[in-house]
């Protein structure tokens, strides 16, 4: 805990005081900006970082745009991070990489150094050297840490990203880097993305894989191999020769999206990055060798680079490549791994709060000493939530940017925490809020600027030889200052609060999105003439923001379901999932200023229902009321929550009007009331939970719309049910209902023996794929009650499939009966020349019609054995009676039972087709003996059957308790 520590800051302050006795150090921030040469020189010495050359020249000028730090100092970033430290045992943990499905990878400081040494030697053997550029695409694993440090050790430059980004976004960024080497882990990457990436990076000479997937086909002239093989082949170097290079030598290329043009490729120098990070970690975070840092990030975000540098302090870093499964995920990680400094986001804290999760009630968080939050504004109430539900740890709201690979405002070990605010400005950074004329504002909102040089300013942009783009991006607005594009207020005590972006760049829940990538992608959508993306405060989640895309359509075009989907698909494909808006609205025009400049600010105000400042500056102020009307028209559906609905458009008034009489009748029937007032509460009328289920059943049977119980819980009124039915109906075309929205090609699941999809509910919720999940519900019986054969059911399912996705590659999944239909669909599709990229069968017992006589005998024995075991269990007597009753074969005494038996008959009468494609078979762990015969029956028709075991038995395999294992396996295969 914090009480007994004296911050390292005090020691450093004393060093500053000794260096310049004439200048007071009580206000160290004032000292640091007024005596920058003393501050930064003292920091370099005090930090003990390894360097050579001369530090006599600290700063070459006073202009933030051009001044350089330490022009005569040379260093190596990897050396600085991995050097032996006198106070740190080489056997102490340095890097722990957590996975959701396997044991952690652990490296001591010595082991990490050795691994990086070997990797650097191997990369050097591959021809990599000083000044080469490398692109690294991987999830947040230990391998990527080792690889990037190996690259940095050789003096090469690294640019990192995650595999789940779209091909367009990856190529748009990394083609600018002109890499010679691509280090690639394709976990979570679509196969076509990998191919597009290789084709889109013509500078590549070599691809080294970090994953174990099959080698991709590479373009001519590109060498493809596995990094692990190269490391194994290379000889251990006796002495690691890592060159110390100039302070500004390029270390990282980072990307930040602007409002115009492609993403900016900014180059960060090794010295500036290192010094800034060590300063933030030690002086602001008081990070020490006995600390364990976990910052929840991905390799595509600068916080990854930031947490990496904590190695220079001697602290342990923890990385995690798994999904956020719920509010408990990260807190459990923190407790289990003794994390002392935990970095997260307002969105995660809000999730915990909304779900009523109380970490301190269930976990031992005694090691945790501070909580960091960044990515968006952390609200006052969230500080209170942490105090009540986590503990007395200070909450440090921090904010900076990729552009400076560090923070402008952040924590402070000595100052109190004020709810809603960052404690302090970053030492040595002359951060201020200014008005339009560059005059400092105190206690009022202004543009965030930095008025003096700072070491982590980017060295420049790639492909910007004269620095024109660099100048335009940061220095044009306020001459002599770095203008960051954020709005901030800074109080006299130095504490600060951010207020969002000041330009057109969107910040959607912490992810900075350049609308130019959206506009570029939408150029390929013919019906869209123009578009503008703006942030909106999410009406359903306090404190969250979401993206609203305003589109101006070409004459004659209509924003129908199909166009909405095309827009989303295009953005997902060409940009990334983060670029897909929550809401698409058609508007007649976009707000323009008199000189024809687009006014995002005016659109944003209108979308948020605020007054637009300076309406006079607009050429077409009338368009604002049209935007407001379009937003208002969606309110009915938006209340259902962003994650539950793809929300393509609001249901039209006519749709809703149709529904009233039917839904009102069902409401009256279920509740047994004479009148149905639209706003009466279900519970107030005496409705019970079971009656809620009955109402939903009626809605499903009579209107064919699957309304989840959560909709009724959220709005338990007749009006709410009508709105939910309308929204679900328009959101889920009956052809193939959307079980979970997402991006990309859908995963189709085939309905069960009852023709229903709700048995897949837990599984669908547990999947971590970004792809949408849709259901296929072919009719199982004709109007006359005759059960359709499997072939007939397959026919209809294929029809539904093709209406939703006209061409492959297809992904199909099914359980039991549904799996059999999925299998037959795949066989047919393949026979017709289509590609089936994934076929998953969840414990599908082959029809007995496919058994050989030996199989059949064994199967019968297995069933009897199962019965026998049950009979001997505590539930035995009842089961035995049941068994005997079944044998009397009067079990078909009622219609449901008969329906069930008839479906089984259809199932068993079927003969399996042959299928040569790959099949993933999820086999229930608990199963009758002699199941080998079941698999043998499958293998006879599907030779490429890959079997994986999952918990449960045939009947409860889709149940709640261990569904995560199945969901993870499927997610992993899907990726």
């Amino acid at each position: 805990m914090t009480t007994t520590r004296t911050a390292q800051l005090a020691d450093f302050r004393a060093r500053c005081a000794a260096a310049d006795p004439a200048m007071p150090v009580d206000d160290l921030h004032a000292f640091s900006v007024q005596r920058p040469e003393i501050f930064w020189r003292t920091l370099l010495d005090w930090s003990g970082l390894p360097w050579s050359g001369s530090a006599e020249s600290v700063l070459t000028g006073s202009d933030v745009e051009t001044a350089r730090f330490f022009p005569e100092v040379s260093l190596n970033y990897a050396e600085a991070l991995l050097r032996p430290l006198p106070e740190v045992d080489d056997a102490a943990p340095a890097l722990t990489a957590l996975h959701q499905d396997r044991a952690p990878d652990r490296y001591s400081r010595g082991e990490l150094r050795a691994a990086v040494t070997r990797t650097a030697a191997a990369l050097s053997g591959c021809g990599l050297g000083v000044g080469d550029r490398v692109v690294v695409i991987a999830p947040n694993t230990a391998e990527v840490v080792v690889a990037v440090l190996g690259v940095a050790a050789l003096g090469a430059t690294a640019a990192t990203a995650t595999p789940d980004m779209g091909a367009g976004a990856l190529v748009g960024r990394f083609a600018q880097v002109e890499p010679v080497l691509l280090l690639l882990d394709r976990t979570g990457m679509a196969e076509e993305t990998a191919q597009a990436l290789l084709a889109g990076l013509p500078s590549l000479r070599q691809v080294l894989l970090l994953d174990r997937l099959p080698l991709p086909v590479a373009p001519a002239g590109v060498d493809v191999g596995r990094l692990a093989d190269r490391v194994a082949e290379s000889t251990d170097p006796a002495v690691a020769e890592w060159p110390r290079l100039p302070f500004d030598h390029p270390l990282f290329v980072m990307f930040s999206s602007g409002t115009t043009g492609p993403p900016k490729a900014m180059v960060h120098g090794a010295g500036g990055t290192l010094l800034e990070h060590v300063k933030e970690h030690r002086l602001h975070g008081d990070l020490r060798p006995d600390d364990t840092l976990y910052f929840h990030t991905t390799t595509a975000w600068m916080m990854w680079n930031w947490q990496l540098s904590a190695l220079a302090v001697g602290a342990e870093i923890v990385v995690y490549d798994g999904p956020l499964r719920g509010p408990e995920t990260l807190w459990e990680l923190v407790a289990e791994h003794g994390v002392t400094v935990f970095g997260t986001s307002p969105a995660y804290l809000q999730l915990c709060q909304e779900q009523g999760y109380r970490p301190s009630a269930v976990l031992d968080l005694s090691r945790l000493r501070s909580v960091l939050s960044t990515g968006a504004v952390l609200h006052d109430w969230q500080f209170a939530w942490v105090a009540e539900n986590v503990g007395p740890q200070p909450v440090q709201s921090i904010s900076g940017g990729t552009d400076i690979i560090g923070c402008f405002v952040l924590g402070h070990p000595e100052l109190p925490v004020r709810p809603g605010r960052a404690q302090s400005r970053s030492l040595g950074l002359d951060v201020a809020a200014v008005d339009d004329d560059g005059v400092e504002l105190v206690g009022r909102v202004g543009e965030l600027v930095c008025r003096r040089p700072f070491p982590s300013r980017p060295v420049g942009f790639l492909h910007d030889p004269d620095g024109a783009r660099f100048h335009a991006a940061y220095f044009a607005q306020h001459p002599g200052m770095w203008t960051h594009g954020d709005l901030v207020d800074i109080d006299p005590d130095g504490s600060a609060r951010l207020h969002g972006r000041s330009d057109g760049v969107l910040n959607v829940n912490g992810i900075r999105i350049g609308p130019s990538e959206i506009y570029t992608a939408l150029r390929s959508v013919e019906d869209v003439a123009d578009s503008m993306a703006v942030e909106q405060r999410d009406p359903t989640i306090p404190g969250a923001t979401r993206m609203v895309l305003l589109v101006v359509l070409r004459p004659g075009a209509e924003l129908d379901h199909e166009l909405d989907r095309t827009i989303r698909r295009t953005l997902r494909r060409e940009a990334s999932a983060a670029h897909v808006p929550s809401l698409v609205l058609a508007v007649p025009a976009l707000p323009l200023t008199h000189n024809g400049k687009r006014s995002e600010a005016a659109a944003r105000s209108a979308v948020n229902g605020e007054d637009v400042r300076n309406v006079d500056a607009l050429k077409n102020p009338d368009c604002l009321s049209a935007i407001r009307t379009a937003v208002a028209a969606t309110q009915g559906t938006t209340e259902l929550g962003p994650e539950q609905l793809p929300r393509p458009r609001s249901a039209s008034a006519a749709d809703v009007d149709d529904l009233w009489p039917d839904v009102a009748r069902m409401w009256r029937e279920v509740l047994d009331v004479r009148d149905a007032h639209p706003d009466d509460d279900f519970g107030d009328l005496g409705g019970t939970s079971r009656q809620a289920m009955q109402l939903l059943r009626k809605v499903w049977l009579e209107l064919g719309v699957d309304v989840p119980i959560t909709d009724l819980e959220d709005r338990p009124t007749l009006r709410g049910v009508v709105a939910a039915v309308a929204a679900r109906r328009s959101a889920t075309p009956e052809v193939a209902p959307v079980l979970r929205p997402g991006q990309g090609r859908p995963l189709f699941v085939v309905s069960d023996l009852w023709g229903q999809l709700n048995s897949y509910h837990s599984l669908v919720q547990g999947l971590t794929t970004e792809r949408p999940v849709r259901g296929l519900q072919p009719a199982l019986a004709g109007a006359d009650g005759r059960r359709h054969s499997i072939a007939e059911v397959t026919d209809e399912a294929l029809l539904l499939l093709r209406r939703t996705q006209p061409a492959g590659p297809y992904s199909l999944l099914g359980y039991s009966f549904g799996g059999l239909v999925a299998y037959e669909m795949a066989a047919r599709l393949r026979g017709e020349g289509e590609t089936v990229s994934y076929l998953g069968l969840i414990d599908v017992r082959p029809p007995t019609g496919s058994f050989t006589s030996g199989d059949r005998a064994a199967h019968r024995v297995g069933r009897v054995l199962k019965r026998l075991r049950t009979a001997l269990s505590p539930a035995g007597p009842r089961a035995a009676v049941q068994f005997l009753r079944d044998r009397r074969s009067d079990a078909a005494e009622d219609p449901e039972r008969q329906a069930f038996v008839r479906s089984s008959e259809v199932f068993d009468a079927h003969r399996l087709s042959r299928y040569d494609g790959a099949v993933t078979y999820y086999l229930a762990e608990r199963r009758p003996p002699l199941v080998g015969n079941v698999l043998a029956a499958w293998r006879r028709v599907a030779p490429h059957l890959f079997v994986t075991e999952v918990p449960g038995d045939h009947d409860d395999i889709l149940g709640d308790s261990r569904i995560d294992v199945l969901a993870d396996r499927i997610s992993a295969t899907l990726a």
Binding site: G356, V362, D684, R697, S762
Partner: protein, 245 residues
């Protein structure tokens, strides 16, 4: 006590934990309702009044019973008990972090539980005649549907009510209510004694004729109590001392 009957059962399913249960009659006359209403807060009364008369009566009697039950455990006046409601409608005892409450009602019967060092959820449901319609309601898992059909029709209403109350008890315990999706909680249909559902121990309560009741407890999720170092033992039978009169 005017609205809560005698203590139905007391048990200590886990070391250091305590559980007390009361049946509550909800078919009482207007005078009893008026009397019960006196210990409610203005907000509680307002919520009760929003309901139709039968809902009003149920809400007043059940809430008052909850207050009286808590008052007994905390040793203070029912009106002085601090009782909150979570976003999903779950009642919460605000006076003591280690005390958890749950309640349920069906028809004329209510059930109230107060637990110490345990998370608790209870549910009571009147038996209903068998109807195949239930197979289309979105709360049974395929395995449950099959298991129900495997039973003779006469045994189905009780099995369904048992399954439903088990699901509801767990979801109420988790504090998510129906938003937690009952189909995601698989229950052992036809196994009336209950068992372990995920982190929850589920037991059958002996209920008056015509009703089925279940209770779910979880020691791991107890409010403000660190998870016990030893595994929680399986369910033990509750000592039932008084039936509904």
């Amino acid at each position: 006590m005017a609205t809560s009957g005698a203590v139905l059962g007391e048990a200590s399913p886990v070391e250091g934990a305590q559980l007390r249960l009361w049946w509550v009659r909800l078919d009482r006359d207007a005078a009893a309702v008026a009397e019960a209403e006196r210990c409610l807060t203005a907000d509680e009364r307002a919520r009760a009044h929003r309901g139709v008369p039968v809902v009003h009566r149920r809400r007043v009697l059940l809430r008052a019973a909850l207050r009286r039950a808590l008052a007994e455990v905390l040793d203070r006046e029912p009106s002085a008990v601090r009782l909150g409601t979570s976003g999903r409608g779950r009642p919460e005892a605000l006076d003591r972090d280690d005390v958890d409450v749950s309640c349920s009602a069906s028809g004329a019967l209510g059930l109230v539980a107060v637990a110490t060092a345990l998370r608790v959820g209870v549910d009571v449901e009147a038996l209903d005649a068998w109807s195949p319609d239930v197979l289309h309601e979105p709360w049974l898992t395929p395995a449950e549907r099959r298991a129900v059909l495997d039973l003779p029709p006469a045994a189905r209403p009780a099995a369904l009510a048992r399954s439903w109350t088990q699901k509801e008890a767990v979801l109420k315990g988790r504090g998510v209510g129906l938003a937690g999706d009952p189909a995601s909680v698989g229950t052992p249909v036809g196994e009336p004694r209950g068992g372990r559902l995920g982190r929850w121990d589920v037991s059958a309560l002996e209920a008056p004729g015509g009703w089925v009741a279940s209770i779910a407890t979880c020691a791991d999720l107890a409010r403000s109590v660190p998870a016990p170092a030893t595994p929680v033992p399986g369910p033990r039978p509750l000592a039932l001392c008084e039936a509904f009169r």
